[in-house]
């Protein structure tokens, strides 16, 4: 993945955020990225703090548990560690931008951003008149977004990338399909028969997937439904420990740069991670696909 790429690090909002990918991109010292997503919680903040980011395209950047993202503020208010350009969207309008990008529409006309100054701060969004209305009827035109790479966390996938996801998915499907490449981080790798047993639970089919990585707990500290609980304390800890650039550097050294890979991260978390593992069983009622 070259510097300057536009990337989606999760688009499900507060669950299934691919932090393992975030960490690896930070370790690889990627630069000038455009981070595209409605909300990717502190994933975006830590990438900004390590100087990976030139642009943010989205609806919200912060810490869902703690409030503000300190690195986001430093970058936007003081240009530290580097200035970043913010492309403002609301959640629904970025959703429509991904939808348009995924399904070949040049733009989508919406009502839901009218009256907001986001139309002023994001010149990509244009006002127009609805040509079907008899009376004046303003609409906002949202052009298609087509990121370069989407990373997504799924509960299970086969080796070809055919993936099952359950629970709310935010914009995962639209953002992934809109992207040129898709990288799947699978909590579990299963036999193809498991995925094929339920093709309606496939959100992204394998033929659209460019790479699959088996990475348990790749979404930590965000939750993965039925697999891992949210590590709320970790978010609060991050908020407290990143108030200034020096403390952020210590945090990112400890939790990202000094670790060789996600396995070392899991080992470092140790018992804390084990406590987040979901042990209970609450299974879906089966669906029958028999043909005869």
């Amino acid at each position: 993945m070259p510097d300057g790429s536009s990337i989606v690090l999760g688009a499900a909002l507060e669950n299934a955020i691919p932090f393992a990918a975030t960490h690896e991109l930070i370790r690889q010292g990627k630069r000038d990225l455009n981070v595209v997503a409605p909300i990717s919680d502190i994933s975006t903040d830590m990438m900004i703090g390590t100087g990976c980011v030139a642009e943010v395209t989205g609806a919200w950047v912060g810490n869902v548990s703690g409030g503000m993202g300190h690195n986001f503020r430093r970058a936007t208010e003081h240009g530290e560690p580097n200035p970043i350009k913010v492309h403002d969207y609301s959640n629904f309008t970025i959703g429509m931008a991904f939808f348009a990008g995924a399904y070949g529409l040049p733009y989508v006309p919406v009502k839901s951003i009218l009256g907001s100054d986001i139309i002023k701060s994001n010149p990509q969004i244009r006002l127009a008149e609805n040509p079907f209305a008899a009376e004046p009827d303003p609409v906002a035109l949202i052009p298609a977004l087509k990121p370069d790479v989407a990373f997504l966390v799924v509960q299970r996938a086969d080796r070809a990338g055919n993936s099952h996801i359950w629970g709310s998915t935010g914009l995962t499907q639209e953002a992934s399909i809109a992207s040129e490449k898709i990288i799947v981080l699978a909590d579990e790798i299963v036999e193809p028969e498991v995925i094929a047993s339920d093709p309606s639970r496939v959100l992204i089919p394998g033929f659209g997937v460019n790479a699959v990585c088996h990475l348990p707990a790749a979404s930590h500290p965000s939750p993965l439904i039925g697999r891992w609980k949210r590590d709320n304390a970790f978010f609060h800890h991050y908020h407290k420990e990143t108030r200034d650039p020096d403390s952020f550097q210590r945090w990112v050294d400890e939790w990202v740069l000094d670790l060789p890979d996600h396995k070392a991260y899991r080992t470092k978390l140790g018992g804390e991670l084990e406590e987040l593992r979901i042990e209970g069983e609450a299974y879906s009622a089966p669906a029958n696909y028999a043909t005869d």
């Binding site: 839901s112 907001s116 629970g167």
Partner: protein, 253 residues
């Protein structure tokens, strides 16, 4: 009379804004708790919608840190995508939405984006999330905000989520389908748009607070509605419902 905290009163005042059978766009924290109280008291047939892609009947059994946490998804009516849920809003199927904000002005426009000039802000706030969509499209909007002079201002620096814009029928002229803010609930009072200008007026003062104090802590020349009242204190039923939701007493202190 029962003991309650200011936060508890705010939640209960917000819960009272929900009518039975309504589809409510619920945000995080306070609104999610307000939804739960409403469901357990006077609105047993309300439906809660969460923009990440969740619809629920019963409030979640466990504490939620975010709308995406497992307990909000387990036993949900629907777990789906953002477009499906926010599309109900955009399609005009949502009765009311709840949002908060950093700043609100006298026409109930809300800022969660930039303090200062957006091209060179003094403070960059986290941003909009889905609030502009909710403010634009819900039949009515319920706003929850802490009542401080620097938050309730004459004019917001940046309209993230449209209220009544420049007042009067400006919303309609701007092409906004939803009705806009119908009520602003603070920790001191309840404000409502009043008169042809749709300017926020003081409609109700919470027990233990005064009209003067509310006006002093508001950044514009706050007028009162003709039928100004005192916010009714929470009932035992309401507090019991709240304590069932807020098991850990998060909102009690």
């Amino acid at each position: 009379m029962h003991k309650y905290s200011t936060q508890e009163l705010m939640i209960i005042a917000a819960a009272r804004q929900i009518n039975d059978g309504e589809r409510i766009f619920v945000g995080m924290r306070l609104p999610i708790t307000a939804y739960g109280v409403a469901r357990l008291t006077h609105a047993p047939n309300a439906v809660g919608l969460f923009e990440s892609g969740v619809a629920r009947y019963e409030p979640a059994e466990d504490m939620l840190y975010t709308m995406c946490d497992g307990p909000n998804q387990f036993g949900a009516a629907w777990t789906t995508g953002l477009i499906q849920i926010m599309g109900l809003l955009s399609g005009g199927r949502v009765h009311a939405g709840f949002i908060g904000g950093a700043e609100i002005d006298r026409f109930a426009n809300i800022n969660t984006s930039y303090i200062g000039d957006f091209e060179n802000p003094t403070t960059k706030l986290p941003g909009s999330g889905g609030a502009p969509d909710i403010a634009a499209m819900a039949e009515r909007l319920i706003v929850i905000i802490n009542h401080q002079k620097h938050r309730l201002v004459e004019k917001v620096d940046f309209i993230t989520s449209p209220g009544h814009l420049t007042g009067g029928d400006a919303r309609k002229k701007a092409g906004l389908p939803g009705g806009g803010p119908s009520v602003v609930i603070t920790d001191r009072a309840i404000l409502r748009p009043h008169g042809p200008e749709n300017e926020l007026h003081l409609a109700s003062v919470h027990p233990g607070h005064t009209v003067e104090e509310v006006i002093e802590n508001t950044g514009w020349d706050l007028k009162t509605t003709p039928d100004l009242e005192e916010t009714p204190a929470p009932t035992k039923e309401e507090l019991d419902a709240l304590h069932r939701i807020d098991k850990e007493g998060f909102w009690r202190s």
